[in-house]
Structure formats: structure tokens, C-alpha cells
Symmetry: C2
Subunit: 554 residues, 2 copies
């Protein structure tokens, strides 16, 4: 304890010193552009990019500041920000007319959103729900926040209160904040969305599986598919506590208040919830359109409803998956329409994207592995690149297609910048997100990122730099394997490996990894945060209380 307090003091002194030096440099002016602004601790890689492009980027930033200031004057407030993020889609699955035809269902509203805004071919996420969502909230790799594993009932784990979310950052800068849909940030009280900076929140602690595959209400279909796990061995099931019977999922809460269980855990509750969250989103936009304060809304819809009558299918593909995406498309359209009708479209940034690659375990009736190989959970591009669009009429130039590298955690820093809240970003930890305001406002070719570290859990599995990829797993000790390197332009599916042409990249990638690991030594990763589940819930059902009571805290 003493040692760590000493370290804290030492770190504070160091920070003051470096701030002092930075001030000198700014005053002196000579090297001011050689580092990102402020005292934020960025990945070394980003700092190195600034050392090459700082002069240009500093100038860009001044112009962007002027643009944003002019807009604030015009609209009387900072821009509203809406982040829509759904599950498990692959690049091209929505928003590309030709691929619509390949797949047998249409996404006219995403296609139109792409026409009216910018679509990204290289939006990187983490490979699964909980990590991506944590990274979006914190601007940090999930390996740093301890949020690197997917939470299921009953986990007794979640997002640590000390993490600073974009909702907290923007709240501090005067934004109203709201969360609707799937949070998947755990079942301990500190992880609840209203305790992580959101004024209002209707959110799930887990993903959709408990609703859609575990419940007897789902009926015959699940029995046929073997998806109903709550049957019992007739003779040998000694531990009656093993199955998480009694779990809950969706909560509703306001900042500073206790949570309430919002929805049942049956399939009908879930079906209603999908529609209800969408209604809440539309109402929230309408209610806050004219307000003095801008708003930040995370809408991470549950989307997928596998329980449908075949007679109700509208798509040629005729899968519950295709039907669900078509509904998502319709809902996305409704959001954009509402923004236009409310007269706030030109002061609202909408980012819409998936949270990771296709959940390919559901093939062939689920999301599709398409042009990129791999899906959810994989370090392959198909696992971590998603369809993504940004829309802001009059601000983002229409009809752009961007090949820039950008990540889900960049949104944290970018939203903070747009909200005038950069000084609310904590400076005592690594922030992986970089400010991509220039990419949004200046367009294709203006990304400030050309690298991404791909984690699976807390393991660094691969690193991408520009068009090159180095896979760290399964390397032969001391030497690379033939699968170690890929040029993802030449080999977008990462199937045709040839090591010799890439041996020039061996040392540069090694250096990247060492720098990355050194920064972790300096700013250690947070371990998983465990706690007692289901605390702080007003109307906790007895079955859920019993479940929480019988789960030992780790």
C-alpha cells in the first residue's frame, strides 16, 4: 500500500513536470505539434504518428475547432451524438446494394445512410460483445479495463466504477445522456449504466441468449434445436445450484437511483423489449430535440428475434436473421427520419455499426461470413471489422467510402472532442481511442490511426499496421510461422499466406509489440472486477435474490 501511494505521488509529480514541459513547448512553439494535445496517455504508436504528422494535424485541429465553434454558435449548443451499435455483422452485410442481392434481403435505409454519409471499410472492434461495448464506453482496450470476457448469468463481474465512460465525460461537459438496449457490462451494481454516467438507462446486464434459448416459453423450437438447457438429468444432478435459474437481465434506472428489473426473462418479454427500446429512442430524440443541452445517446439494440411464424417472413432469404436485420434497417431509418423531422439532423452525429463480426456458429441461418474470413471471437479480420456508417447532414460529406482505419474506442475520444470534453478524459491511464474528428469532418484519408492491436480475452493475438497484419498466436518460438504475416489488401480473407515477402516487417512489428507491452508495465491492466450480483435493485424477484445469495463472490 505504501509503495503504491509513493508511486501515485511520484506519478503525480511526473505528470506535473511533463505538463510544465509541455507548456514550455507550447510557449516556445517549436515542438508543440510533436505530440497529441493535452496530458492524455496514448499508445506509443499514436505518439509516434504525431511526431511525424503533428504540424499538419495541429493546423487541421485549429481549423476544426473553428468549424465546431461556428456550429455551436449557429445551433446554440454542442452537437448531439447518437451511437447505434448492434450485434454480429460482417462488412457488407448491410449498406451495400449488390450484397443485399447476394444475401436475399434488402437494407434500403442503411444503403441510403451510406449514400448520405460516410461508410467505413475498416472499422475495427474487439472480437465480442462485452469487450467492444466496454471499449466504446471507456476508450480503452478491454484488456486494460478487465472487461475482456463475455458476461453470462450469473457472473458477479462487470465494469469497474473507476473506469471513466463517455457518458461521464460528456455529462461533465453539460450533455444529457441516455442508454437504451444491450449494455452487457455485467451484473454488479457499479457496472449498471446509471452508475456509469447515464442520466437514464434501460439496459441489459447480459446478452440475448438467456432470453432466446434458455426459456421454456420459447417452446417447441428450442426443444427441437436442443437449445433448452434447463432440463435436468433424471438421476445424477447432485448440485442443484449449477444452473443459473432465477437470473434477470434488463434493468431500468436513473442516475443516482436504484435500478428496477424492467422486463421478464421470457421470449415474449424480449420481443416486446426490442420494440420498446426503439420507441424509447424515438421519444428521447423528440423530447430532447429542442432542449438547451445537447444529448449523447447510446442505442445498442437487441435486434435479433429468432421466434417468428414462417408466414410472416418478408425476405427472400426467409430466415429469422434476415427478418431481424430488415427490422433493424427500418428502425435505423426511423431514427434518421425523426432527426430530420425534429429539425436537429444537422446538429446530430449518428454513428451506426456492429459490435463485432458475424456470429458464425449460427450458420447458415444467422449472420454471414462474407468477404472477410472469420467471425465473432476470431482475431481474423472477419472477427473485428464491422459494417459502420457515420451520418451528419451538412457536416459529413455525402457518399463517401472510407478505407481509413478507425476503431470503436476512437469514438470515445472523438465524441469527447466534439462535446468539448477532452479535459474530462482521465490522464492516469492509457487511452487507446484517438480523436477522429478530422476523418469525420475532412473525410476519407484523414484518419489518425494506422494500427490496431487485436486482443482475444487478455491475450494479444494479432497486430495490424497499415495493410499488414502480424499474428502473434501459434508462432514458433524464436521464429515466425508462414501464417504470421498477411497483406490484407492482397489477401483480404487471410487464406493465402506467404512469409518471405514480409520478412522486412518482422522487426517493425516486434518493436510495436514491445512498446505496447512496456506501456502496460507502466500502466498495468485492471484485473476483472468481481462482486456480488444483483445488488442495488429495488424490485429484485426472490428467485434472483436467491440466485445472487447462493453464488459465492470470487
Amino acid at each position: 500500500m505504501k509503495k503504491s501511494r509513493f508511486l501515485l505521488v511520484e506519478k503525480t509529480l511526473l505528470r506535473l513536470l511533463s505538463a510544465f514541459i509541455a507548456t514550455l513547448l507550447v510557449v516556445g512553439g517549436s515542438f508543440a505539434a510533436d505530440k497529441p494535445s493535452g496530458d492524455i496517455v496514448y499508445e506509443t504508436e499514436y505518439v509516434q504518428l504525431w511526431s511525424q504528422h503533428g504540424d499538419k494535424w495541429s493546423k487541421e485541429d485549429k481549423d476544426l475547432d473553428a468549424t465546431l465553434a461556428a456550429m455551436e454558435q449557429k445551433f446554440g449548443k454542442k452537437p448531439n451524438i447518437i451511437h447505434v451499435m448492434w450485434d454480429d455483422n460482417s462488412v457488407g452485410e448491410v449498406g451495400v446494394p449488390l450484397l443485399n442481392k447476394v444475401l436475399g434481403f434488402d437494407t434500403p435505409r442503411f444503403n441510403k445512410m451510406a449514400e448520405e454519409g460516410i461508410s467505413f471499410s475498416r472499422m475495427y472492434t474487439e472480437p465480442s460483445c462485452t469487450p467492444t461495448r466496454a471499449a466504446a464506453l471507456t476508450g480503452r482496450l478491454s484488456s486494460r479495463t478487465g472487461m475482456f470476457k463475455v458476461g453470462f448469468p450469473v457472473d458477479g463481474a462487470g465494469l469497474n466504477a473507476d473506469e471513466v465512460t463517455i457518458a461521464e465525460v460528456l455529462s461533465a461537459a453539460g450533455y444529457k445522456t441516455a442508454f437504451f438496449g444491450k449494455a452487457h457490462q455485467g451484473d454488479i451494481e457499479q457496472s449498471y449504466m446509471q452508475n456509469q454516467g447515464f442520466d437514464v438507462a434501460n439496459f441489459s446486464m447480459y446478452n440475448q441468449f438467456p432470453w432466446i434459448t434458455w426459456q421454456a416459453q420459447a417452446g417447441v423450437a428450442n426443444v427441437i434445436q436442443g437449445l433448452f438447457p434447463f432440463q435436468w438429468d433424471k438421476e445424477y444432478a447432485i448440485d442443484q445450484n449449477f444452473r443459473p435459474l432465477g437470473y434477470i437481465n434488463q434493468l431500468e434506472a436513473k442516475k443516482g437511483e436504484k435500478a428496477k428489473v424492467f422486463s421478464g426473462s421470457g421470449i415474449r418479454d424480449y420481443k416486446k423489449l426490442i420494440k420498446l427500446n426503439q420507441m424509447q429512442v424515438i421519444n428521447y430524440i423528440k423530447q430532447n430535440a429542442a432542449g438547451d443541452k445537447p444529448f449523447y445517446m447510446a442505442y445498442w439494440p437487441h435486434v435479433y428475434d429468432p421466434f417468428r411464424k414462417p408466414g410472416t417472413f418478408t425476405t427472400s432469404a426467409s430466415t429469422w436473421y434476415a427478418e431481424s436485420v430488415v427490422e433493424l434497417d427500418r428502425d435505423m431509418g426511423q431514427i434518421l427520419d425523426t432527426l430530420k423531422e425534429s429539425g436537429i439532423a444537422e446538429n446530430t452525429l449518428v454513428v451506426a455499426m456492429a459490435d463485432n463480426g458475424p456470429f458464425h456458429e449460427l450458420h447458415p441461418i444467422g449472420p454471414h461470413e462474407l468477404l472477410l474470413r472469420g467471425g465473432k471471437g476470431d482475431y481474423l479480420e472477419g472477427g473485428v471489422r464491422v459494417p459502420a456508417f457515420a451520418w451528419w447532414p451538412g457536416v459529413i460529406e455525402a457518399g463517401q467510402v472510407s478505407g481509413d482505419m478507425v476503431t470503436v474506442y476512437d469514438l470515445f475520444t472523438t465524441f469527447a472532442r466534439l462535446g468539448g470534453a477532452m479535459d474530462q478524459i482521465p490522464t492516469d491511464r492509457v487511452i487507446d481511442g484517438v480523436d477522429q474528428t478530422s476523418l469525420l469532418l475532412n473525410g476519407n484519408g484523414h484518419s489518425r490511426r494506422d494500427y490496431v492491436h487485436i486482443y482475444q480475452g487478455d491475450r494479444l493475438s494479432a497486430t495490424v499496421k497499415q495493410q499488414f497484419k502480424r499474428v502473434w498466436v501459434d508462432e514458433r518460438p524464436g521464429i515466425v510461422s508462414n501464417e504470421a504475416f498477411t497483406d490484407i489488401y492482397k489477401d483480404p480473407r487471410e487464406e493465402h499466406h506467404k512469409m518471405p515477402p514480409f520478412l522486412w516487417a518482422w522487426a517493425p512489428f516486434d518493436r510495436m509489440k514491445v512498446r505496447h507491452e512496456r506501456l502496460i508495465e507502466k500502466y498495468p491492466n485492471r484485473p476483472v472486477t468481481y462482486g456480488k450480483p444483483y445488488e442495488g435493485i429495488e424490485n429484485l424477484p426472490p428467485a434472483a435474490q436467491a440466485l445472487a445469495d447462493r453464488v459465492p463472490v470470487r
Copy 2:
């Protein structure tokens, strides 16, 4: 011989009788629409579609006739037709901005062509060059014409004189006809393009490989890659005739005249040839724009040039392949520009497409396997579905994306229809191509095809009907395998097979196959046509003559 003459008389009588009955029916009017017009022998499958949709399609056809007649009056001639077809591309490889960014090279002109015309997600070809090109020329599956294998020097085989090509069909209806580029229809005199209906032709007998990998001139690069096969075993090469030394490739000729060897067989000749064919195309358009007669031009460019200095690369992908496609894109744009500048764009149909899926043996520096699995040579969708666009300003509605099924041999019948030459189509053989004029003029959703038989060589490997696919190879005798069925909407990469949901389709697919085979019994496939290579060439070099002389005719 007597028997076959009897059969011929019998067939003629039968045809007269059926024509008589057809006339009666037309007069009677009651069943007139139950079959495709004319006496063309179509695949049974197509006749069955007419029995379901004949009334509607007959009406459509009358309207289309009126439209075409009005256009002919306006422009003073039938429409010009240009068929551009290049090698080995996958669906999405050109013409889709987002996929450009995935691959690291841009195809702005194909993207614009797609915006200005219609792009097809399900244009089917045969799985390789010679078969697809023969099918385009004859409107028939290559298994029927004996053109089902890829020709290489020295083959002594080629397209039979009795086959009736689209050039012959349109010539008979008053069109001027021209061929530029890669024909790949064999090295026997009857197969030469000027002997197959083209007024002027500058064409190759084989594909690009002899130029780009066999020649010493290609230099060091080929030696490094092991692509130079004309080295000799130093002790044991007894047969000195085994290697096809002395081969030629590109010929030039006019209808009714002998051919001339046009180009050398070295890499420099080849590089020049690519540019030269493009110039010939541009000149041909300019020279024939104002003429009394419409023209049909097949431009099947050689495109791929693997011998480049790295310093000349313009693409991010930086492969010879990407550079070649970018040049093709530029050339495509030049053609469309020339049509507009010549004032004939509104009376010219341009169809641009690849001839088969990606040549995946060249991965990762060649064409890409993208959203569909498989490539050249495969019965998988990736082998037989290609990027394809049709462009006809003012006639084809701009910006359409079609999910209709259409094939390369449909172009034969469609071009004949547009040229007013349906009565020139032979009626003594099966014609696989169906008239897709309605798809072009009425747009997406108006295809008259919902099936395709996929051959590899002369083996029927798979059959597609609507979104379903049945694979015939590797079936367990008497029962299907798990890989037998695919729903290509749900599983576009044909990777996630599930047999049970498709067992309803077992008998329907079996019936399709039986009907297909019965028609072959009635109209037998032509065997491969063999002959002495290199006859009918004025300036045949002695080495080529020697090669031809030492190859025994089969």
C-alpha cells in the same frame, strides 16, 4: 448415313408439322403464350417457365417489340452491341466502392458504369475461359459444342464450323461485326474468328499464359517463379517434340480471307497487344458510329500484365493484378466516353463482365476470392458467378442492382432479339440462352431464368434453381450427401451444409436432371472437334509450321 438422312427428313417434317400447329394455335390464340416464340429448341426447364408465365411474357414481348421498333425509327438502325469480357474476376471485385477499399485499388469507371446502368449479382458463366467464350458465341452450354476444355498450344482443336455464332446471326441480320482480344476458341482453321462470322478480327487462339510465363523474354522474374518451362533436362529428354516450341497465338483476319500472325509470342509483344486492341476498339467505334449499319463488337481484352516495374505501381495493393484491373477500368471508361462523344451511347448496349471466377491459383497476388467461395474451374458460385454490368443510357434505368439469374449464353439470344435476328438462330440444336430483353429494358425482377446447369468439362457438376443448389458430384450412390444442397442466400459461401431442410428439393432436382439428360439424348452433344493446327495462315513462321507438322491429328 441413310439412317441419319432419314432422321433429317423426319425431323424436317416434324418441324413443319409443329410449325403448322403453332400457327393454328396463334390463330386460335388460346395456348399461344404457352411456349417461347419460334421453333428454337430450348432447355425443357425454360419451356416449363413459359407454360407458367407465357401470357404475361407474351404481352411484355409485344410492348418490347414496340419499344425497339420506335428506337429503330428514331436512330435509323438497330442498336449497336458491345460485349466486353475479361478474365477471372469475382463478384464485387470491380464496381463496388466499399470493396474497392477492402482490396486497396479503385475502379471508379466500373463504379460509375454501375451507377449509370444495371449491375448483376447473379451473372452465371461457365467455370473457365474457353467454355464461357464458346457459350457466349453460340448461346449453348460448352458441353453441347465440344468446347468444354481449355485450349493450350498445341491443341489441334477448336470451335466447329457448324456451330452458329452470334456474329453469324447478327451478320445475317445486317450487322457489322468485329472481334478484338482473347477468343481462345482453338487453333484449327474453322475456329478462327473470321471463319465464325466476324467481319474483322484480331484474336488469340489460346489464353495469356504462353505469353506471360513461357517466354525467355519474360526474363528473370519467370525464372525466380519457376514459370519458364522451356529449359531442358540435361540428359534424359528423349522426345524433343514434347514441348510446343514454335507456337503462335494472336491472329488478324478479315471475313473470307486467310489469317495473318499478328503479334509475336514474347512478353513485349503481349504488352503492346493489350494497348493495341484497346486502340482498335476505340477506332472501330469512331469509324462505325455514323454508318448505316449497326455493329456488334466482342472485345475480350487480355488485360493482365504481370511484368511491371514496382516503381510504376499506382495502387495501394501494389500488385500487377491490381494495376491491370485499374487499367481495365480506365479502358472501360474510355469506351463509354467514346460512345458518348460519338453520339451513339443511347443506341448502344454495352455488357461488361468477367468470363469466370477468380483464378485463385494466383493468390495472394492475383484475383481475389471474395464473398463467394471458389474460383476458376470450380462448380462453386465463386467459379461461375462474375461481376457484370449492362449500360445503355436512356434505355436501361440507371442505378439498378439486379438479383436476377442471368447467364453468359443468354446474351446470345438477347443480342439476337435486339438485332431482330431471332429467325437466324438455328433450330436443329438446343439453345441454352434465353431472351433477357425484358430484364434489360424492364429492369430488375424481369429475368426469364431461374435455373442454371453448371458443367465442369463435360460433367454436370451442379444445378442451381432459384436460391437452391444441388451438387451432383460426390453423391453417395442412391442417396444425397450432406453437401448436396445449399441455400445460397443463407449460405452464400456454400460452407455450412445442412441436408435435412432441403430434402423437399431432392425429387424436384432429380427431375430437372432427368429432363436435361433426356434432351441431350434427343440432341446429342457434339464431340470435341480436332484438326490440324495453324492451317489457313498466310505468314506462318517456319517454326510454327514445323510444330503443326509434327503434332499428330487426333
